[in-house]
């Protein structure tokens, strides 16, 4: 194991070779910084660590921008499947398609988490100054002495590693954040949803064909819960059931294969014939929990910084967890461009640029769960969508639906949140006394939009 006693700060230690850690390694290497990445798990390129699951992500503009900045966008996008909108499945099996945006380029991209992670590791290893160290579980960080405690399960060996500057990209259950939790004046909230999730699968057809529309994110919204499905390159779909842990219909009560099948048949009848291993998967796959984490400060002097989920885990309902972590890299890179490797200056400025925005996406992600699972085609909802569309057409630089601001723009999340609230108020006002978009009071619309929504640069 390489131990760094180099006193210069152009050597950085990353904890965690997940999506954020692997991309950040590339960003840092491009700045001439030596990077050691310590990863708890074995090398996923050599050992299958998927535990039978095949998580996929929705890559969108902020994430893509990060990939572009380090020049690997084209390679990565070749592994992705565009999803142009949501395909809603009713209980009766009726389908309705809702495009994500009005423009051709407004789509999100389904990509395998494992494939993307491996590609990023490969890219990072192209830089001679990036070294990955696997099977190295971080078990503690002695802040005072700048010393990491690492444990290698395969050799049962503990090491203490002196580090200069360390960036924790070790995800929602970050060991480094846990160390920080003990520090005076460290603010933290970790809040779990009452819902968990279970991954299931729709395999490809006999000839490898997609058995549902390929270019869509499929949703079976059912009020307090939902099923979703994202396409994979091999023709399969990865499905996720978001469902209460406890209660009448819950992971607790769906405790036999019969109950699972009859529940799915009643609620997701068009999906059941496509899921031959439903009951098996349901009991073989783990039930995951969903957490929102906010904390501050993210850093300790020039010694340590939390980045990505380690600093701000969010629920998956806006498809922004990874995109937000990649955008973290963009902002940190921006600060490095400004201050070189003066981490004492970089970390506070990075936090001040990022914190309000990551708080905002955390809140929007929670709100979007309601939107996704409750979305119904009632008259009032459709009217609002029509009016929203009309306003977007007329004022493309001012009225941008929140989903678009978040997914297809790089407008700071906090700004997207604020403008989204204003837009809702404008829609309230314009829709309250009309039945159809034809009755829209354009004079009023014009004055509201011009007054309340400054042009987006």
């Amino acid at each position: 194991m390489t131990t760094s006693t180099d006193s210069s700060h152009t050597r950085v230690t990353l904890i965690g070779a997940g999506l954020a850690g692997s991309l950040l390694a590339i960003y840092l290497a491009k700045k001439g910084i030596k990077v050691d990445v310590y990863e708890r798990r074995p090398d996923m390129r050599k050992v299958d660590i998927s535990a039978g699951r095949s998580i996929n992500m929705a890559l969108s503009t902020r994430g893509i921008h990060g990939l572009k900045e380090v020049g690997i966008h084209d390679k990565i996008m070749a592994k992705a499947i565009p999803m142009k909108g949501r395909m809603m499945h009713s209980v009766e099996g009726k389908l309705s398609f809702h495009p994500y945006g009005k423009e051709e380029w407004e789509f999100i991209n389904s990509i395998s988490r494992a494939e993307l992670n491996m590609a990023l590791m490969n890219e990072a290893e192209n830089y001679p100054d990036v070294n990955f160290h696997f099977n190295q579980k971080c078990t503690g960080f002695d802040v005072k002495n700048r010393e990491l405690a690492l444990y290698d399960e395969t050799t049962d060996r503990e090491t203490r590693l002196p580090v200069n500057t360390m960036i924790a990209t070790d995800g929602a259950s970050s060991a480094i954040r846990l160390e920080m939790t003990k520090r005076d004046r460290f603010n933290l909230s970790q809040h779990y949803l009452e819902h968990g999730y279970k991954e299931l699968t729709i395999p490809p057809g006999a000839d490898g064909e997609f058995l549902l529309e390929k270019h869509a994110l499929h949703i079976w919204p059912r009020g307090t819960y939902m099923l979703i499905a994202l396409p994979n390159l091999d023709g399969s779909f990865t499905c996720t059931l978001f469902f209460p842990f406890e209660g009448e219909f819950s992971f607790e009560t769906l405790n036999t294969e019969e109950k699972v099948l009859s529940f799915f048949k009643a609620q997701f009848p068009d999906a059941v014939p496509l899921m031959p291993t439903l009951q098996e998967d349901f009991f073989a796959n783990p039930t995951g929990s969903l957490v929102t984490i906010k904390c501050a400060p993210w850093f300790v002097e020039d010694k340590a910084l939390l980045l990505g989920d380690a600093a701000h885990a969010i629920v998956p309902f806006f498809g922004q967890g990874m995109n937000c972590a990649f955008e973290d890299c963009t902002y940190l890179n921006h600060c490095i461009e400004k201050y070189g490797t003066d981490w004492q200056k970089i970390f506070p400025e990075y936090q001040s640029l990022r914190k309000a925005n990551t708080d905002a996406i955390a809140d929007m992600a929670l709100e979007n769960f309601i939107e996704m699972r409750d979305r119904v085609a009632d008259a009032q909802f459709l009217l609002r969508k029509d009016v929203e569309f009309a306003l977007e057409e007329k004022y493309p630089n001012r009225f941008i639906p929140r989903y678009s601001m978040v997914s297809f723009h790089r407008i700071p999340y906090a700004t997207a949140y604020e403008r989204g609230e204003i837009q809702e108020e404008i829609l309230d006002e314009l829709c309250q006394s009309i039945q159809s978009v034809d009755e829209l009071d354009w004079q009023k619309a014009d004055s509201l939009v011009q007054q309340r929504l400054p042009k987006v640069e």
Copy 2:
């Protein structure tokens, strides 16, 4: 060291011999339960661990009730000084006294934290089945194997201790809560105020006399900060400055003896002559932080429970931290009376009885900081107080000021919070168009109170 391998659950391990742990040991011993208490520090009855500080507490009805339940109320109260109201000190040195309640028995009691803790330990040790183990720092809890990790600093020895049922009374920085923080679906918020505190002292006069009114809690309210002073038996007062960590006037900027003195002379001119060691104390004593902690669940099966500050640390502005922890003991005792030593039943019921109430006092304690530091004698405030007093006189079982409900009753905190909100609304309505209590619309008052405030049983 006694290690328990006894499989019966009539042996309980407590972590922390502070106020909550020591009182709880007595409660449990009285139920015939064997108790081992592991305490990080040395025995405070043999070693001075005060670090020069002399913290005092405000003991009130809920805390006193706990002491009564275990039969040690009289002994303890002999060490306390009644404080009948707040003595406000203006910048000009003008004094105004505000009684805590209208009744003779409505006072709170200043008591030395160390004296009280030692007395509780002594009482607990009267029970042969209570054993204290000092210098035993809990460094971890292996939930699966029911095993505590303990470290003795004096011998540099680590022990692993099998336990049956463990109750963590190890305070706001609970090691057991930190272990629970790693568990799936453990909700936690720890939020620090932007203010810290510093303990200072007013020594007794030459003949041991009190240099300020003895039977009062003294407050120098100054808007964004304040100084308070509580009497001690020896004629001294323990003062606490609650003050911002950063900003124009803050612990950061008051960084020389000159600055401290000139600031105190300007803001607390009547206190300065009474504080001969002000500057010395200011730099010798540590700056403390103030945290609010909420979490859930408080327990793991029948294995472990958080109680007192470990479960719900609050800021000190309602003088309820200790009182709330003692009331925790009352409620836990109630559950033990119901279920014997069936901890699997006791812990969930205890939490369901307590959680909403400890959340409520946490919020009220934060609100009271504003009330204490901003309290001014403006006309509107005085009118409200007059009306409040009149309503309390007329409807003693219905309209009880919030401070009284919390400090002089055992009404559940959450109920006190809700009724307090209703009372504020009633005061808003009754005061909006009058200048003096003589103009009070009693018919309206009568109907509002009867309708909105059911009798307190």
